[in-house]
Symmetry: C2
Subunit: 141 residues, 2 copies
Amino acid sequence: MKSRVVPGRGATWPGVPVREYKDRPELFRDVTRRVLLGGGAPGAAEGDGLDFELRYFEVAPGGHSTLEHHRHPHAVVVITGRGEVRLGAERHEIEPFDAVYVAPGETHQFLASRGERLGFLCVVDRERDRPVPLAGGDEET
Amino acid sequence: MKSRVVPGRGATWPGVPVREYKDRPELFRDVTRRVLLGGGAPGAAEGDGLDFELRYFEVAPGGHSTLEHHRHPHAVVVITGRGEVRLGAERHEIEPFDAVYVAPGETHQFLASRGERLGFLCVVDRERDRPVPLAGGDEET
């Protein structure tokens, strides 16, 4: 494992592949993911020896992540744009520097619902369960 | 464990205590730390069930962290200001969105050496060894 700087320029990282998903509007829309450090990151050997993975997600204006729950918690920090997060029955406006803790089992969704993209770091335990999507994740519903 | 938003405003988090250190200029200077999520964070029960801790460090202009090494790796993302990081014999300029991986055992130091504060998120495994400081950490030496 070797130390490295992963250069970022305005919430893009030239050396890091962007994983785009084919939209499934009933579940998610206009979401990309980059693994910056940890398992699956470019240059990472043995998951960088970390017990977690550091990812960057970006939701384009009007898009949203899947409404879902899982047993593993999320640690999130917004670093660009603005939007909202659903946490159970609550909905909170979020913007840069806001941190979000998603507790185990909490139904949650990130929405770029305020006319801008929403970009956030999301850290998860390396060992984690698979998310369970819920119907009704579209923000229009 | 309960989900929550930790509101941030321009790299301050009103609900999160700032841990300031009395300077030991031979080791570090003008460094503050906040634990945003995970063990020790305000509102965190049982370390939020995370295998890691999410902290924010800020180095005031001209300041620097301790030159040190330890077995646990660091995952860092710069979110405000600019500065430099030492990684072994190398020195890299860093600014917002740059991610830094500090490998196990690597001697490293963060320096606000470019006329601005340097603020970065730093994620570490919850279980980790104690850092070993090195002499010569002052940027003037």
